[in-house]
Amino acid sequence: MAVFTNLADAIATNVGDGDRVALEGFTHLIPFAAGHEIIRQRRRRLTLIRMTPDLLYDQMIGAGCASKLIFSWGGNPGVGSLHRFRDAVERGWPCPLEIEEHSHAAMANAWAAGASGLPFAVFRGYIGVDLPSVNSNIRFVDCPFTGEKLAAVPALRPDVGIIHAQRADRAGNVLIEGIAGVQKEVVLASKRSIATVEEIVEDFGERSPNAVILPSWTITAVVLAPGGARPSYAHGYYSRDNSFYVKWDEISRDRDAFTVWIRENIG
């Protein structure tokens, strides 16, 4: 069963140096508060996994938490580049960043394979393109029934999966509404998992019988963190702070401005 704890304790207990860590959220429900706590606790040499490493991973990479990134789209959505990510890849600042690069279809399938307990994912993809020549984790298999050549990538099985969600109930079950992304898969694929939530309620009350709920016994720790997805958004609670995404472009462009921002806003 999930334990209720605070953010500092959840990160200290579950995230160690060198771990494979995924903080997911497909634009929606990005666990910023948890990522910021990882920066505060000065975790190092993490392998960060995420389909869309946007501002949160830009901050974690710039703060020196990561030595490797597994991803499929690394930009500031609708704005432009991730400057800290680019600085790490192009110039090795603040430390070199190894990258394992995929397409969305590959990562989405790899998450589903991880949640399914399979060693790899198979799908129709990566045909005629260059990524397989720079990523040895992209391979091809022949369908045993039709002979069709299909793409294969390893399942994603992080040490720790971290998500943000709308609500937990007193038993520690976690409810997700809106764009669900890969939230469910991340928790089910990870050895340990943390869910930060907007609120903790007595019980979920009336809901669709098909509501997306992760049972308490699939989650290691539940943490109350209102606003924990800002500047991304939590459907039904607050909207995306698009202006911060635009502002980040300026803050992150310059190493000094970035360093000052981290010191003043995260610690």
Binding site: F26, T27, H28, M51, T52, F71, S72, W73, G74, G75, P77, G78, V79, S81, L82, F85, R86, V89, E90, E101, H102, S103, H104, A105, A108, N109, W111, A112, F123, R124, G125, Y126, I127, G128, V129, D130, L131, V134, E148, K149, G178, I179, A180, G181, V182, K184, E185, Y233, H235, S239, R240, D241, N242, S243, Y245
Partner: protein, 260 residues
């Protein structure tokens, strides 16, 4: 009736016109999203828009800044998980048109959105593939919309992120891909289509006031005009009004959040 309009507006309008009520369209963010929603708000109200964040039959009132804005989910018929979107809906062959952009395009409609320079030591690290790689092979057809310049319309891609018609125009069939690939390339100067056999992108329509010389100057390969070269119809008043109204609502919606 001549109404002043910008080259960017001409591009978005020309791209929007390519979509019909029958299309089920996988929408990329940015220029593709603007064109798709303009089509839905003008001549193709029945156009089905699908975003990779999982939203199906999406009807945003303003353009999203990101692929997963709340606006998309709130206005969709239903929202599925991202693995389901890529497996059942895209790979399952449910999408008729994929609408893409990129940093570089070549004469066969192949796209680069990964790096400028060498992969291991890039001059510019771009965002990467996202959904594009499999959108381009799984959707019935692909439409591309990009601003045209010699830096973006190149003779040789630095990296093949997304397969168009392949390095020589013949590779799709050789690789066993059954979908059509790039069928249309809309720019701020012209409209290009692939040759039936060669798959070489040639100019089928020049936007008003644009010459072939201007197109050649903005293209890194030896671009030719098709046998019949048309002039693109300028944006109609209704198209222009709908686009400007969409952009105004979008700016206001995103601007309001600045004030929050």
């Amino acid at each position: 009736m001549s109404q002043p309009y910008t080259a960017a507006e001409m591009m978005t309008v020309a791209a929007a016109r390519a979509l019909s009520n029958r299309d089920i369209c996988f929408v990329g963010i940015g220029l593709p999203s603007a064109a798709c929603n303009l089509a839905r708000m003008t001549h193709a109200p029945g156009l089905t828009l699908i975003y990779e964040s999982g939203t199906i039959e999406t009807k945003p009132r303003v353009l999203p800044l990101s692929i997963g804005d709340g606006e998309l989910c709130e206005t969709a018929l239903t929202t599925v998980s991202v693995p389901e979107m890529f497996r059942y809906w895209l790979q399952g062959g449910r999408i008729t048109v994929g609408f893409l952009g990129g940093a570089q395009v070549d004469r066969f409609g192949n796209l680069n959105s990964t790096v400028i320079g060498k992969y291991g030591s890039p001059k510019i690290r771009l965002p990467g593939a996202g959904g594009a790689t499999e959108i381009a092979t799984s959707c019935g057809r692909v439409f591309i919309v990009m601003r045209q310049s010699p830096r973006t319309f190149v003779n040789r891609l630095d990296f093949m992120t997304t397969l168009g018609h392949g390095p020589t125009g013949r590779e799709r069939r050789e690789l066993g891909i059954m979908t059509e690939g790039p069928a249309l390339l809309v720019t701020d100067l012209c409209i290009m289509k692939p040759g039936e056999v060669t798959k070489d992108m040639s100019v089928v329509s020049l936007h008003p006031g644009v010459t072939m010389e201007a197109v050649r100057a903005a293209t890194g390969w030896d671009v030719r005009a098709a046998d019949t070269l048309a002039e693109t119809m300028p944006p109609a008043a209704t198209e222009l009004e709908a686009l400007r109204e969409l952009n105004r609502r979008t700016a206001e919606a995103h601007g309001r959040q600045v004030a929050e």
